[in-house]
């Protein structure tokens, strides 16, 4: 009796999951199909809206020319560097601000102002200072993710359980020991979680940077495509970017799982 009921429950669960997946597949397949249909029958202008087949053909020809993986690699590399830097620097700065409440009070309004400033506006200045090269792109991406990391990690730090701090103080722990024994390990998940936010933030920064200055990368492909009015290249670039950002996100989620499991 119980067994049958349970089996029925599991069956329903599986069925539900199956329907969800099916709907997801139907949406993407019909989207591609309709897009292709409209475009090849000239219902929409295929020059402006391109078409899935043309976009994929463009991606394939990039592959044949041997440039595809270079572009992907450049973007991934820039993202990786800036997001690692943002996480490490952001955590270090958050530690310093936690350590000195005075410093935090002084810096707080500046952080707020810089945070609300659209970083792309700094693009021209960054290019002039750091040159029209990969450094500018990384700085750009770093600026976008750094402030967010600082405020996330700092907020995690200051919301550390007051009772636990009290406990450590009853052991005569120094502020440094409270940091090492409690604040950092207690906020481990916050720091790891900021990796996840940073990967998408950095990618935004990198693509923005590549729009402004670059000779390689996915952002460059999209920007170049729009300048020469090759919309196939633009859509191709967006598709590549979709895949790349998804893969990077999945990887970070996986890394997060591993890091948290070992904790």
């Amino acid at each position: 009796m119980y067994d049958r009921e349970h089996k029925e429950y599991l069956r329903k669960l599986r069925l539900n999951k199956f329907f969800v997946h099916m709907c997801q597949i139907i949406i993407i397949v019909s989207f591609i199909f309709i897009w292709e249909y409209l475009s090849s029958n000239n219902i929409i202008n295929s020059f402006i809206y391109s078409s899935p087949s043309k976009a994929f053909k463009t991606i394939y020809s990039l592959y044949q020319e041997g440039n595809l993986f270079n572009h992907i690699w450049v973007t991934v590399y820039e993202t990786f560097i800036s997001f690692s830097l943002a996480t490490i620097l952001g955590t270090i700065i958050a530690i310093i601000l936690w350590y000195s409440k005075f410093l935090f009070k002084v810096i707080d309004p500046y952080l707020t102002v810089i945070n609300s400033l659209p970083k792309v506006a700094l693009g021209p200045i960054i290019i002039i200072i750091f040159g029209a090269n990969i450094n500018s792109i990384i700085i750009m991406a770093l600026l976008i993710s750094l402030i967010v990391t600082i405020s996330n990690v700092y907020n995690g730090f200051i919301s550390t359980d007051k009772n636990k701090i009290k406990l450590l103080r009853s052991f005569n722990a120094s502020k440094w020991q409270i940091l090492i024994y409690l604040v950092i390990p207690g906020n481990y998940h916050v720091i790891v979680n900021s990796l996840k936010i940073n990967v998408s933030m950095s990618l935004i920064g990198v693509i923005m940077g590549e729009f402004l200055v670059s000779k390689e990368g996915i952002g460059y492909l999209i920007n170049y495509g729009s300048q020469v009015f090759n919309l196939n290249l633009v859509f191709g670039g967006i598709i590549i970017l979709l895949v790349v950002s998804y893969v990077m996100y999945v990887m970070v989620v996986y890394i997060e799982k591993v890091l948290i499991r070992n904790n």
């Binding site: 359980d161 009772n163 009290k166 406990l167 009853s170 052991f171 005569n172 020991q177 024994y181 390990p185």
Partner: protein, 243 residues
């Protein structure tokens, strides 16, 4: 070991006088409970004795080599450390981690029925067990005075009775002086030798009761003593109630 506590504590948010002229004489090996209306400054008093907070006047006299151990309402176990490491935390911070102390902690865990949980994490322990671990973590430092800040109020009633019995026995076994804050009059009467009743803020000592019972035993037994309800009535009337 004799303490002569006299304190005058000013809290500067504007000036809030939290404690006024508190004088207490605590004898070695004594179990003292402090009761009083909520928010009267009981915890402040304990924090000052424990050295977490600073006093603004008065004096605490005790022998220099006296070590104070603190136990809070919240067990404060670190979820990322196993039970053993949690218990060793205080020793680690004080730089007193040595084989002898590790053995001592290990024995404490064995004695109080936690041996199989040594390498488990706090999340797998019940509330009562966690509180026992918290006590062992405090005892690991071999304190002369234990300060208990509403140690059982996070537990449900059943567990609370059982754990207060456990804790009482552990403390009596090791012969330590205890100052316990509680808002539970019954708990205070059943566990302590003396009860200090504080007034509303600013807290003053209103009255001190010596708890004497003919068949004094474990806290649960004490609740059955004939004197229990008499003390309960007296103290209940003594506390300023404002609801």
């Amino acid at each position: 070991m004799i303490d002569k506590l006299h304190k005058n504590y000013h809290n500067k948010e504007g000036v809030v006088v939290a404690l006024e002229d508190i004088t207490l004489n605590i004898k070695e090996g004594e179990y003292i409970a402090i009761v009083g209306p909520s928010g009267c400054g009981k915890s402040t008093l304990l924090n000052i004795i424990g050295g977490i907070d600073t006093k603004s006047g008065g004096e605490i006299k005790m022998n220099d080599d006296i070590k104070v151990g603190y136990m809070l309402q919240d067990d404060c176990l670190f979820p990322w450390l196993n039970i053993m490491d949690n218990c060793l935390l205080g020793l680690k911070i004080n730089g007193n981690l040595n084989d002898e102390n590790i053995k001592y902690v290990s024995e404490l865990l064995d004695t109080y029925g936690l041996s199989e949980f040594k390498y488990k994490y706090p999340s797998s322990l019940s509330g009562g067990m966690r509180q026992r671990v918290a006590l062992i973590r405090t005892l690991a430092l071999k304190p002369d005075i234990l300060l208990l800040d509403e140690p059982f109020s996070a537990l449900d009633y059943q567990t609370r009775l059982a754990v207060s019995d456990d804790v009482y026995n552990i403390i009596k076994d090791t012969g330590r002086t205890v100052i316990m804050i509680t808002h539970d009059i019954a708990e205070a009467i059943s566990m302590s030798d003396r009860i200090v009743v504080l007034t509303n803020r600013p807290a003053k000592v209103k009255k001190i009761y010596n708890i004497e019972m003919k068949d004094k035993g474990t806290p649960i037994n004490n609740r059955k003593c004939s004197e229990f309800s008499m003390y309960y009535d007296m103290i209940w009337k003594e506390i300023d109630h404002h609801v």
